[in-house]
Amino acid sequence: MNCPLETPETADLLLAYCSRRLSPESTATLEKHLALCPSCRSFAEGQRAVWSALDSWEAAPVSADFDARLYRRIGHDLTWRDRLLRPFRPLLAYHGLPAAAAACLVLMAGLLLEHSGKPAGTPVPPDTATVEVQPEKLEQALDVMDVLSEFDRKSRPENAGSKL
């Protein structure tokens, strides 16, 4: 068997052996090599020390309000922009999709407004159909405009234009 530390193709054999993921046949072959190779033996002992340290390590218990405090902190650190964009983040991953969606919305709104209230084939402009006729209001407005027109003419200084 070639030395695993000197052969890149079999380098992971040692790691698999130390983490006990190697088959019994491969384990037996590797242990024969370890008995002869001090470099591999030293490496394997180091790895074994790490694994035994990890096996004996116990994580400190998490306090009851850990989650609540964590989420509070995450929420606190987020900017307004992040909070607004968070629900749309998956969509934003596709470049051009937001712009295309906005374009579609604007066009749809435009088409809806263009054709709303107009029966197909009827040449009547939409404005005339939707104007509520209030003769009194119209007359009143025209009266006021007559007064305004006369006032405009009579109060205007010589050689001056109106500004309002």
Partner: protein, 159 residues
């Protein structure tokens, strides 16, 4: 790059469509009626009683005879009047009618005074209206007319 350009053009076209609609549909019934072509207006008028139709038709014809810039200005001034409280609107309309009805010689004097007052700040205007030499040139009714008009209506030609 080409795709972004297409999307940009689509957005631009949509915006134009929307803004065009907003302009065509903007304003109240009076503004919309005044902005209509005679044919469009006729379709609205035919819903009214015949007598009213004829009356309004004649008024609209008179309005349409005015030059376009005058029509726009009148519409602007009318909208300004509409934005005022009913009391102030009524007061202004009454004082304008009174001004229009003044004899020619008095109207010339008041017109000059009105134009001078309109160029002043509210404080200066108040001081001028209260100044004895100024007051002595006008009757109480004329002074009130000058005060109401100069304080509430931008006089034509004012810079």
């Amino acid at each position: 790059m080409k795709r972004y350009l297409q999307i940009g053009l689509m957005l631009l076209a949509g915006s134009f469509m929307l803004s065009g609609q907003a302009l065509r549909r903007g304003g109240g019934p009076v503004e919309r009626m005044l902005a209509m072509t005679p044919e469009q207006r006729e379709r609205v008028l035919e819903k009214l009683p015949p007598g009213k139709q004829a009356e309004l038709r004649k008024r609209f014809e008179q309005f349409d005879k005015r030059p376009p810039e005058e029509r726009q200005r009148l519409l602007r001034q009318w909208k300004y009047m509409e934005s005022l409280s009913p009391e102030k609107r009524e007061l202004l309309a009454r004082q304008m009618q009174a001004f229009n009805a003044l004899p020619d010689d008095r109207r010339v004097v008041l017109r000059r005074a009105l134009n001078q007052l309109s160029r002043l700040t509210p404080e200066e205007r108040e001081a001028r209206l209260a100044a004895e030499p100024f007051k002595s040139r006008f009757s109480a009714t004329e002074l009130q007319m000058l005060s109401d008009l100069s304080n509430n209506f931008p006089v034509p030609g004012k810079e």
